[in-house]
Amino acid sequence: MKPTDTVPPEMTDEHTVVSDGLAGGPSNADDSPGISLGSSRMEKIRRSMLLTILPLVAAMVVGGLFLLALGRDPLAFYATMIHRAIISPSGLQETLIRMAPLLLISAGLIVAFSAGIWNLGGDGQFMLGAALVGGLAASSAEVMPRGLMLVLMLLIAGTLGAVWTIIPALMKARYGINEIITTLMMSFIGVNLASLLVKVMFLDDRPGIQTPRTPVLDVADRLPTLFGTRVHSGVIIGVIAVIGVHIMMTRTSLGLRLKILGANVKAAHHAGLGVSKLTVATFLLSGMFMGLAGGVEVLGVQGFVRADWNPSFGLVAVPLVFLARMNGWVTIAFVFLLSVLSIGGELATRDAGLPNQFGLLIVALVLLFMTVAEYFESRRLRGERTVWATMADRILSKGDAAGE
């Protein structure tokens, strides 16, 4: 296999679909919703209904069947879920807080996926950023002003996330080694190394602590909160990151270079884009956002890192970013939806006396049905017949053959 061939085939398929409409040209370079007018606007609304609301309903129905089987009232469950996640002020705050790391991780994934690079090592990059910040923040806060400490911590988190991608990046750029494997392996190492750092280097060894963890960062020293709520400014950082990445991908020369790399490596090589350098840059940028996500989560919410803590945000964001077709605005909307589901799900399952995993089940169902809807929609756009119509034809023609 030649180095340029190592992009998995399903990747190129995704990109053919994804690049539609995202690829340059003055008329379609801007994908932000609400700009096109008239019938295309209706079409967009119809599309977004089809691709989000329908799967959501389908997931609720299937999840409802599970709830019925478990002897719970589905309607009550969903009502609690929505109430706890959006309607109650404290729930809404929780939802927004949950968005912060997911937004930063999504920003990292948008960069990588647009360039055709599968950085699936987000968890390792995230955890290392988190662990280092968890270990250093409390002691740094004692020797420097809060603002300086926060900026320094974020820099450290971002840098470590980026550094953790260097090995996969060089292996990919130099030898064409598949980054799916290398980033996943580095992720395992990263997650365990983070845990090791917490247990050995950064351990808070005061007596009475059950699970090993880092020293706690004082609440007053954490990321500033917004408008007197508990929502911290990390959410703003996340939104800026996603929008910034979106603008970079649609407006700047670097963004176009990355998209060409993702759409056609041979063409990138032919056009003299410096494929190796771009590949490494993509990994570093992507890893930086992952590490930053870890730092923000510790500085804004947790205040410390427990040795057994790993929220595994990295992989949840993967289908989400793909379903948003790497569009920043859609990604923000999907991250909100995912946060609602995960916060609402967590609280509603607790109320219903179900294990925490049930909330994840709902999230997984939604992502699954969204993928299915996406598949049918792209078939429809390509003018292909639906599976059902083809199946019906087969059955009917078989019937005819039998009758003759």
Binding site: S253, I260, A263
Partner: protein, 548 residues
């Protein structure tokens, strides 16, 4: 009728395979035009012809991949409608394709029994027995448990032949089997074919190399533009000495080129008038000798690339191209043309030698510069892989037109894209080059090959080109577009822009170029001045009629 029955009729006098009046048309191409030929038992039938002569179509008809539009196929005297590769195999016709069909991660034995099992379980014992049988017929030493991907190309080909013969006991079709073989491998192949002939097998052998046809063939058929233009029967082949046979075949293959050229010349004038009426004639007529050539602009000295599994590499290539010169590169496909083009463009680093370009009055070494710097210095490259490499199919025409100027003003200012500039540039280019597209924002992958080529041509010749490398510039284009492309090359040369034209069409090179370099197995085997005898001499060099 099964394969055994077909073969057992060997003495009845019925030919093994008869093709009568085979015609196959693809959109825009008459690939096979009323082809009639027979393959006898115990005979090697060689098919010769240039690329696009219709050999591949004929092979795919014989192997059941393509069903002809008209004509009769008789196998062992019985008319048959061969409509699938499976059917062809059942009739005993096995084919060895140009591309590898072995699964590289499986063992030899697994590869062989893979397509030939009926049940769920693989019958290894039976497979081993058959493998031994065939290997002993071929006189080959085969390790059944070797992993296919680890075998050398020669060895892989033996396995491909065994695979083709696994069921096929009547006929074996070999599509350019020697193109990737070492000379020793070719010798071994020849002796295997001798042994197979002895068992009564009929063999169809496609090659570009004349001497192979003369040495291995019992009968030679020459195709050109989908038609049979000449046949040399076994008696003649045996009685004539090889020197005269070569002359005879070269004449059949290339002899009428001069007549065709005059036809094209007429077309050329028509098309030129209709495409660009308001442009003055630059004066470089067909024949291409009327070139005012200036000082050297590009020099290659002992440029080499290591050979690899899939490439002959380049061996000490020396070339000098002068300002305003159109240099042709002729040769059978896959003999180093692509490597040469990529080395010139900067897409492939050279292993040794030097490339220097005259820039601001002095020669500077560009061997270590990348694509981007060379493009900026006026060295441009039109890739032959138009859809796969030259453009990003999922992006707009407008973006593809500035693909090699990303980040440069006026299209980018402070690295921010200027949509208006990109759009205007696209509209102007589309108009100037007559690119047929619904609009600048259409994804370029949706355009026809000809229109994509016009866009690439526009991109590569924009903003001060000095030397342009064209890899198969008119391949697959219709005659009008082809001639427009040629005209562009010629006009630019008149303005002092040099060109390196790599082409499979000798006629095209004779039309455009002053000198034509002939490549074979990564070497330049000769440089021919265009003139009265040029096609003949190039033809000789191409098919290896002259010893190196």
């Amino acid at each position: 009728m099964d394969a055994e029955a077909i073969r057992s009729e060997r003495d009845s006098g019925t030919p093994l395979i008869e093709l009568i009046g085979i015609t196959k048309r693809f959109p825009g191409v008459l690939a096979n035009d009323d082809i009639t030929l027979t393959v006898e038992r115990g005979e090697v039938h060689c098919l010769l012809g240039e690329n696009g002569a219709g050999k591949s179509t004929l092979i795919s008809i014989l192997s059941g991949m393509t069903v002809p539009d008209a004509g009769i196929i008789r196998i062992g005297g019985t008319e048959t409608s061969m409509n699938s590769p499976r059917h062809a195999l059942d009739l005993g016709i096995g084919t060895v394709y140009q591309h590898a069909t072995l699964v590289p991660t499986l063992t030899v034995l697994e590869n062989l029994i893979l397509g030939n099992t009926t049940g769920v379980r693989l019958n290894e014992a039976e497979g081993l027995r058959r493998l031994d049988e065939l290997a002993s017929i071929l006189g080959a030493d085969v390790d059944p448990h070797a992993v296919a991907g680890n075998l050398a190309l020669d060895e892989q080909q033996v396995i491909e032949i065994i695979k083709a013969l696994w069921k096929g006991k009547a006929a074996l079709i070999l599509d350019e089997p020697t193109s990737m073989l070492t000379p020793a491998g070719v010798g071994e192949l020849a002796s295997m074919l001798q042994r197979l002939k002895g068992t009564g097998l009929g063999i169809v052998f496609i090659t570009h190399m004349l001497h192979e046809a003369i040495e291995m063939g019992d009968r030679v058929t020459v195709l050109r533009q989908g038609r049979v233009v000449g046949t040399i029967a076994p008696a003649e082949l045996r009685s004539t000495d090889s020197e005269r046979l070569r002359d005879r075949i070269v004449e059949i293959m290339f002899g009428e080129e001069a007549n065709e050229l005059s036809d094209v010349a007429e077309l050329h004038v028509e098309a030129f008038e209709s495409i660009s009426q308001d442009e003055p004639d630059s004066g470089g007529g067909p024949g291409g000798q009327v070139q005012s050539v200036g000082e050297p602009i590009l020099k290659l000295e002992r440029v080499s690339l290591e050979p690899s599994q899939s490439s002959h590499g380049l061996h000490e290539v020396d070339l000098t191209i002068a300002e305003g010169e159109i240099l042709g590169v002729a040769g059978v496909g896959g003999n180093g043309q692509k490597e040469l083009a990529e080395v010139l463009a900067g897409q492939r680093p050279i292993d040794s030698g030097s490339i220097s370009l005259r820039y601001n009055g002095a020669f500077i070494q560009i061997g270590r510069l990348g694509v981007h710097s060379r493009h900026e210095m006026g060295l441009r490259y039109l890739s032959d892989d138009r859809r796969g490499e030259a453009v990003v199919g999922t992006m707009s025409v407008a973006i593809n037109l500035v693909l090699k100027r990303i980040g440069k003003p006026p299209f980018w200012k402070r690295q921010i894209i200027q949509h208006a500039e990109v759009w205007q540039h696209a509209e102007a280019t589309i108009k100037e080059f007559d690119i047929r597209t619904p609009g600048p924002d259409t994804n370029i992958g949706k355009l026809s090959g000809g229109n994509i080529q016009k866009a690439i041509l526009a991109r590569e010749t924009a903003s001060d080109p000095r030397i342009v490398v064209y890899n198969k510039p008119t391949h697959g284009l219709d005659i009008r577009t082809s001639l427009a492309v040629r005209e562009r090359i010629r006009q630019m040369a008149a303005d002092g822009v040099s060109a390196v034209v790599i082409s499979n069409h000798l006629e095209e090179l004779l039309d455009l170029c002053g000198r034509i370099a002939v490549v074979s197995k990564g070497r330049i085997v000769g440089i021919v001045e265009n003139g009265p005898n040029a096609e003949r001499r190039i033809g000789d060099l191409m098919v290896g009629a002259f010893a190196l």
